[in-house]
Subunit: 343 residues, 2 copies
DNA sequence: TTGAAAGCGCTAACAC
DNA sequence: GTGTTAGCGCTTTCAA
């Protein structure tokens, strides 16, 4: 057992050749005689030698590494997207440096600084929003490093983005609720200040109500990191004119909401409808399964990675991609039972 | 905008000092006069200079990087554990290189080779099992690199491990099922050849049945990567003497099972009981919520990371930790309705 | 308090 | 086909 790993120099010495030959042999980057190759292979085989990527990175100024930053791994929508990034990156010979921000601007910034210091070749980021995260994104742009925003709605054309049309998807979801006869529709959302997606979804919610001449109910914001619903949500649910439908800004929230409602004796969807947003796969397996707008998270991760790599390798131009979403007509929403029949 | 990022040498030139002084200033690693410090700060501020970690890593032979390998990010149990690793690593100034194996031995091996090449300082791994993954683990041991196996049951004392007692937890779960009057209890599991945890859980299942003089039913194995349950499962569920209870080797499987059963008109828990294993947090929010054995995934990740770092930094000895599990008495299991009253 | 210089492990001219 | 060599960007003696 070697105390310290070998260097190419030592391998060269043992094989009786020069370091250049070893380098050529190990990288198949130039001619090497069979004799030399075999000598080298022998040394490598019984020493377990492996080229040191750090030396190579320094010399070639290429790290073959991508930085990936998401708010949290504990929401499957992000875990799935990271999984999508990882699979493509791995195929293309890129490593993944992973960080999570816990929805905190300060952690976004420090994660990005770490990535920059580590000389990653590109970044896949899901940030709070372009405004609040401006300082951090500024760093990336100043470093002239390609990056793609994932999930964040596209707000400019200067950089790449992959997302869905959150506002439209929310609009469609709420319209569907309205067409099922619901009039008192509340929105429960993760803190708007921590997610531009929530903001867009809320806008879609308002659009839908406005188009139907229905008054919106004050949005109830909850934290992202805790599963417990706030008192505000509970008070809303037990009040006199309690909503007949809830639009939750994420599936995780919707799942908690369904549970909380049933604890209050309100059955979903018989007494009240609940819809989520994201389309995490577990939602499909629930009973009732979740009505929601589905984001193709893994595909977003795939695209983010392959686009990023083509920017790195081929200097491809920045691009904004809006992927199609679709509504999953789950069992957690239903015709409002007291519907008076107005159309 | 700089085409290529600056080097310490260029900063030194611009600030009119030597590279050694810049290094000392930026790392607070030695005395620097106020005058020099200010000159350097000025240059750094308006150039956005950042020390290149690769140069530093080569010089110091420290990468401050941990490699993390899990079978899949799409199972929240692993995503949560990775999240736990990440949080501790970040606090300690370590970066995370992430890879997933999709439960494939070949990908485990190549991921580990990439980690080795990248000169990570330690590894957190969840592998198929120590036997099958032997070749890959061999590489790590030969490289003399500290690692901790996470989730994999401890089979030797030569390396670190953090897990729960899978066999005991499964035993307890199945005993509880038996005490609720169930006698026809089936086990549905992810392929045993892809997970030593499944194997242990199956042993616990058999222990429990054996202790009560009940005949086990042939285990039904399903793939990990697809949510659809196999025909074998369906045939079992609709057969004559179909089980009154299902023990699933993961919560994800249990959730799919509940859904599949209800599609067959069998209500959970009224007609049939289903229990899972893992304790993913979403399971708590389901209706019915999941009876399961809870693994403290995030805590396992936390411990894996901090233990690994103390091995790296302080040469702490390898350690095997078995964390306590607990049973979540969810709503997905119930007294068997046709219970004849035997005790 | 500072600078010169060696060298971490590697690749890629370049000369042979 | 092969070897020599000059760095890549940094830290760290060591001497001043």
């Amino acid at each position: 057992m070697e105390r310290k790993s070998l260097t190419i120099k030592e391998v060269a010495r043992r094989a009786g050749v020069s370091v250049a030959t070893v380098s050529r042999a190990m990288n198949s980057s130039g001619p090497v005689s069979t004799e030399a190759r075999e000598a080298i292979e022998r040394v490598v085989a019984d020493s377990g030698f492996r080229l040191n990527a750090i030396g190579r990175q320094l010399k070639t100024s290429r790290s073959h590494t991508l930085g990936v930053l998401v708010p949290s791994l504990k929401n499957p929508i992000f875990a799935d997207a990271v999984s999508g990034v990882e699979h493509i990156a791995e195929q293309a010979g890129f490593r993944i440096l992973l960080a999570s921000s816990s929805y905190k601007i300060s952690k976004e910034k420090s994660a990005i600084e770490t990535f920059l210091t580590s000389r990653v070749e590109g970044l896949v980021l899901t940030v709070t929003d372009e405004q609040s995260s401006h300082a951090a994104l500024e760093l990336v742009e100043h470093a002239n490093l390609p990056f793609v925003l994932m999930f964040n709605p596209c707000k400019s054309n200067s950089h790449s983005t992959v997302s869905i049309d959150n506002r439209l998807a929310a609009y469609e979801l709420v319209c569907e609720l309205i067409s099922k006869g619901h009039r008192r529709i509340a929105m429960i959302a993760g803190n708007l200040s921590q997610s531009d997606r929530s903001v867009e979804r809320h806008a879609g919610y308002e659009d839908a109500l406005y188009d139907h001449g229905i008054d919106p109910i004050d949005i109830v914001e909850v934290g992202f990191e805790k599963p417990e619903l706030s008192d505000a949500v509970m008070n809303l649910a037990i009040g006199q004119d309690s909503p007949t439908a809830y639009f939750c800004s994420t599936d995780l929230l919707a799942i908690s909401m369904i549970r909380a409602l049933s604890a209050l004796g309100r059955a979903v969807p018989d007494d009240v409808s609940v819809v989520g947003f994201d389309g995490i796969s577990i939602g499909e397996s629930l009973t009732p399964n979740l009505a929601t707008a589905v984001q193709p998270a893994e595909a977003m991760g795939n695209w983010a990675a392959s686009h990023l790599i083509s920017r790195i390798e081929e200097g491809a131009p920045a691009q904004n991609l809006v992927l199609p979403h679709y509504l999953r007509h789950g069992e957690s929403w239903a015709q409002f039972p007291d519907d008076t029949g107005f159309t």
